[in-house]
């Protein structure tokens, strides 16, 4: 109940901020369209697009969540909530549901446009692709929540984006396939969760098989999201200094 009330509260906040919603939903699509015409080649676009369908929701959810939670900490609404009978899990799941819904919208629009207009093949189906990208968005959300605990100002929170997100983007296999990287970089990319999301997305565009590797990759992304969410919960303290 309180989880749903929280989700509804966040969605209402978003409804009052149409510009943010429009940016969140349409920006990934716009960037994909831009990329398609920059490459000016369907095969090149098809190679890069799956990774980007994961990276955009991941990044956007990271930023939106870290700023939203930081704001909640700063305006003392969090302090007030902590005096009320609400579990931290209610708050976290409320965030997850609200931002998860936005992520679904974001991914469905971006993937549909890529598929119907930009020539991206999705052999595994739009549904599976959306599922993976939404898991990925939840991962970004959970990491943003965790990162916000270390930011004192919104400036710092925005700076965490390059710190937490960019290394994962560089190492996820978008620019250079992961197995062609220097050994050390390959190891690092092996422990970064975005790599597994991108592998899964790439697989779903190329094949309709739901094989063990795909399931393992999905499981890893989900597990990382849960771990980040638990770490985020630890940072939402009832008592503060």
């Amino acid at each position: 109940m309180k989880t749903l009330a929280t989700a509804q509260r966040i969605l209402t906040q978003l409804r009052h901020d149409r510009r943010t919603v429009a940016l969140m939903v349409l920006m990934p699509t716009f960037l994909l369209v831009l990329l398609r015409f920059v490459f000016n080649s369907e095969p090149m676009f098809s190679r890069a697009a799956p990774a980007l369908l994961g990276i955009f929701p991941f990044t956007i959810m990271f930023i939106v969540t870290s700023i939203t939670t930081l704001r909640e900490r700063q305006t003392t609404t969090l302090e007030r909530l902590m005096t009320m009978p609400i579990a931290r899990l209610d708050l976290l799941l409320g965030y997850a549901i609200a931002f998860g819904l936005v992520a679904i919208l974001q991914v469905v629009v971006a993937a549909s446009v890529s598929w119907l207009w930009l020539g991206l093949e999705i052999k595994g189906g739009l549904g599976l692709l959306t599922l993976i990208a939404v898991l990925d968005a939840l991962l970004g959300m959970a990491m943003g929540l965790f990162a916000s605990a270390f930011a004192r100002t919104e400036f710092q929170a925005v700076q965490f984006m390059p710190a937490f997100v960019m290394p994962q983007v560089l190492l996820c296999g978008l620019f250079v396939p992961r197995d062609q990287m220097a050994t050390v970089l390959n190891w690092i990319s092996d422990v970064l969760p975005l790599s597994y999301a991108v592998d899964a997305l790439t697989h779903v565009t190329r094949s309709s098989d739901v094989d063990g590797t795909l399931l393992r990759n999905l499981f890893i992304v989900l597990a990382c999201a849960v771990v980040a969410l638990v770490l985020g919960a630890v940072t939402l303290r009832r008592k503060t200094p």
Partner: protein, 225 residues
């Protein structure tokens, strides 16, 4: 029924390396308006945060009998929601009846602004919107951190009347202020200075004890004593 609403025993709080609450022991009786009065920076907010359980404390204990409504010094409401939407959310969290939303709106005299975005309220309206949240669910104990700053005299009088009628219903109201002229409106006073209590008594007793008609004078005499 217990004879205290709030019991603080040997409370010490360290913030930023300084001991800002330095061993407080007192109780707040139920059914009265108690004022926590002291100069800026003396530790009022820290003490109230300890009472509502969001402050990490170094030593001592705090116990509160019954449900607590807390209003922070800085307005704790969502700027990008309307007043009503804020109240509806907090009412859901408190499991308060939804009729509470309209009741508290009229208690703080914000009915005309109910559907206005909090971000567009005036300073005094914002303070009242935040106060309204503390009234949701009719808590037994109200802990209000400087609820009447920025308010005009008429509104201030109305709110103090409301605090007293809540106390008459048997509820406990603990209000902080650094403005001495609010002290006279309280049933009981806690005078605080530099993390210590100077006095815990009724206004009349404090006037008598210090031999001054004016509570500000009384505070100053206690402070130099």
């Amino acid at each position: 029924m217990s004879n205290f609403a709030i019991l603080v025993d040997g409370l010490r709080v360290v913030r930023g390396g300084n001991e800002v609450v330095r061993g407080l022991t007192f109780s707040v009786p139920p059914g009265f308006v108690t004022g926590l009065i002291g100069p800026s920076g003396c530790g009022k907010t820290t003490l109230l945060r300890s009472i509502v359980g969001v402050q990490i404390i170094a030593a001592g204990s705090v116990s509160v009998t019954g449900s607590v409504g807390y209003s922070t010094q800085n307005p704790a409401v969502y700027a990008d929601l309307t007043v009503r939407e804020n109240l509806r959310y907090f009412a859901a969290v408190l499991e308060a009846p939804s009729s509470d939303v309209d009741r508290v709106l009229s208690d703080v005299d914000l009915v005309p602004q109910g559907d206005q975005l909090v971000g567009s309220l005036s300073g005094g309206q914002l303070a009242r919107a935040s106060l309204a949240v503390a009234l949701l669910g009719s808590p037994q104990v109200l802990v209000l951190d400087e609820p009447t700053v920025e308010l005009d005299p008429v509104l201030r009088r109305d709110l103090w009347q409301m605090f007293h009628s809540l106390a008459e219903e048997g509820r406990t109201v603990l209000v902080s202020s650094h403005v001495m002229d609010e002290a006279a409106r309280c049933d009981r006073l806690l005078f605080m200075r530099e993390g210590l209590l100077l006095a815990d008594d009724t206004p009349a007793a404090l006037r008598a004890r210090t031999g001054s008609d004016d509570l500000e004078q009384a505070f100053l005499r206690l402070a130099v004593a």
